[in-house]
Amino acid sequence: MKRMWRGFFDSDLVYHFKRDKVAMVSFSILLTLVLISFSAPLTAPFDPYDPLQIDIMDSDIPPTWSDNGDERFLVGTDAQGRDMLSAMMYGTRISIVIGLFAVALQLVIGITLGLLAGYVGGRVDAFLMRVADIQLSFSTLMVAIVVLAIFQASLGADLYSEYAIFMLIMVIGIAEWPQYARTVRASVLAEKEKEYVDAVRVIGFGPLRIMFRHILPNTLSPILVISTVQVANAIMNEAALSFLGLGMPVNRPSLGSLINSGFEYMLSGSWWITFFPAMVLILLILVINLLGDWLRDVLNPKLYKG
């Protein structure tokens, strides 16, 4: 165990990390955001899911430092009297959870189908890649909007909002699998020709073991690079869907739905309901994108373009 840690700290990745200020700052901001949002049930001043703690008399209070501010609510309250700080902490947690789970789903589907296409080849490969082509030609956001709209219309808004988090993960997860499948397939095609694969085949290992234990580890660096960008994209798509009212409901808001509910009041001067969740959202996506850029420069894999 100790040796593993030592190995990690001596690795190239950490070496480059310590020499890149942008990467270090981004990583610490990301870590802070994750820690604050995931400790929300313990540290948030209010529980935004508990209707008893919400008082309509507290609605529309500007941040503490403005003229009519209230010291209980650091960055003000929304139109229902909810503490914005607490709502944002819980909302960031939802956004991150959806982003991570959606990408995990993409990983599972994409890696399995990519390995299959690359390793088996032939008709399976041709079929899977054709399907991937078609799927990629439709933008994820478009597909997600249409699918979620249909589900919302058929389930009714109330029932839908209960399963919203699940639906968002499924839709964003399923729509983006070709990203991984194509990259994994490309690396598998390159790896398959190498001698070590012949060697394990001669030893008599089955195709499953060869695929997952021997080829997959050698395709990890492009997967890692794509994953960071994909998490950022998933969070952004989730925010867009919630903003359109197709995502998380108002009583369990993600950052996108907070912005949506604030947008109505922005024109009447309540800028803080929109402004603070928007800043957190941009910051979150930005630091993940910066880390992704840094990873790509360090690992420098041959990525599948297009």
Partner: protein, 325 residues
């Protein structure tokens, strides 16, 4: 070339078939078409009779066949809300969405190529470093937030430009355009900027990366060795090969842009197809939802086919029939 065309056509037909199947299956499951027509005050026996008359009790395939034959003739049913043919309602809004896309495309094309090329040629200058830094901020700001910020700054705070709607429009034949009136153009500025806000940095980064890759290749070095003018090498030899991948990505991004029009149109209350679609979803106006899906599906299929064809024409080395396989 011919084999490729046939293949593309088959692929396009498969996609449209899937879309039609989805459209058809939601047709009867989203709300009750009978209730939309007659209300609740009709007895069960009469309903059953009407249901038979409308063919709602026929086998699935028969109903689907009927739906398909009507759809091909452009009849997708009447919108529940507007009480007019759904396709007609959608097509009225088509011009608004297309002009928005056109405005955004103009911004992207005129800005991304010069900036991308500049950043590739002078990678170490402070200006390109600033531009690249800005571009990563640009791709991190969701489209709807850019739209909201633009409204807040330019419409509410400064009051320079209108914040919602399309302004005055004029009819040119069957095309309703806002691009010929001053008011219409003013209304177009903010939504176009918002729509282009995420694509522009994406394209700048893409063009820069491709151009830098091109500049490192042998034939460029050979061109220098021949003593060719530097400008000629940059803008003729390198730029040509840079644009190939840009075309492919561009085709895919047109689709993404249509999706983003839904966001932009919602924020700016732009009377286009996307805004109409969201309204239809909220009203469970099934024929309109179906019409939107089919129109947008067609746009996707057509642009993808055209982009592939163009790519084949500009890049003679590409083996069209074997692409993707």
């Amino acid at each position: 070339m011919f084999a490729f065309l046939v293949r593309r056509l088959i692929q396009a037909m498969v996609v449209m078939f899937v879309i039609s199947l989805i459209s058809f299956s939601i047709q009867d499951n989203l709300g009750d078409p009978l209730r939309e027509m007659v209300g609740v005050s009709v007895s069960e026996a009469e309903r059953e009779l009407l249901r038979d008359e409308l063919g709602l009790n026929d086998p699935f395939l028969e109903q689907y066949g009927r739906f398909l034959s009507r759809a091909i003739r452009g009849d997708l049913g009447d919108s529940y809300f507007f009480k007019r043919p759904a396709l007609e309602v959608i097509m009225e809004k088509f011009s608004a969405t297309m002009e928005l896309v056109l405005g955004a495309t103009l911004i992207i094309v005129t800005l991304s190529a010069p900036i991308g090329v500049y950043c590739a040629i002078n990678p170490r200058s402070w200006l390109s470093k600033t531009l690249m830094g800005l571009s990563i901020v640009g791709i991190s700001v969701p489209v709807f937030l850019t739209a909201i910020m633009l409204i807040y700054v330019f419409a509410i705070h400064l009051g320079w430009l209108p914040s919602y709607g399309r302004g005055d429009t004029v009819m040119v034949g069957f095309w309703e355009t806002g691009m010929l009136t001053r008011d219409g153009l003013e209304h177009l500025i903010l939504p176009s900027i918002a729509l282009s806000s995420i694509m522009l940095p994406l394209f700048i980064r893409l063009i820069r990366a491709e151009m830098m890759e091109c500049l490192e290749q042998e034939y460029i070095r050979f061109a220098y060795a021949k003593g060719l003018d530097q400008r000629r090498i940059w803008f003729l030899h390198a730029l040509k090969n840079t644009l190939l991948p840009v075309i492919t990505v561009g085709g895919v991004q047109i689709g993404t842009m249509i999706a983003y029009t839904i966001l932009t149109e919602t924020v700016f209350q732009w009377p286009g197809m996307g805004f109409l679609f969201l309204e239809a979803v909220n009203r469970t106006d099934t024929p309109l939802i179906i019409a939107y899906m089919i129109v947008v599906g067609l746009i996707f299929v057509i642009t993808n086919t055209v982009v592939d064809l163009v790519y084949g024409l500009v890049n003679p080395t590409v083996k069209l029939a074997g692409r993707g396989a």
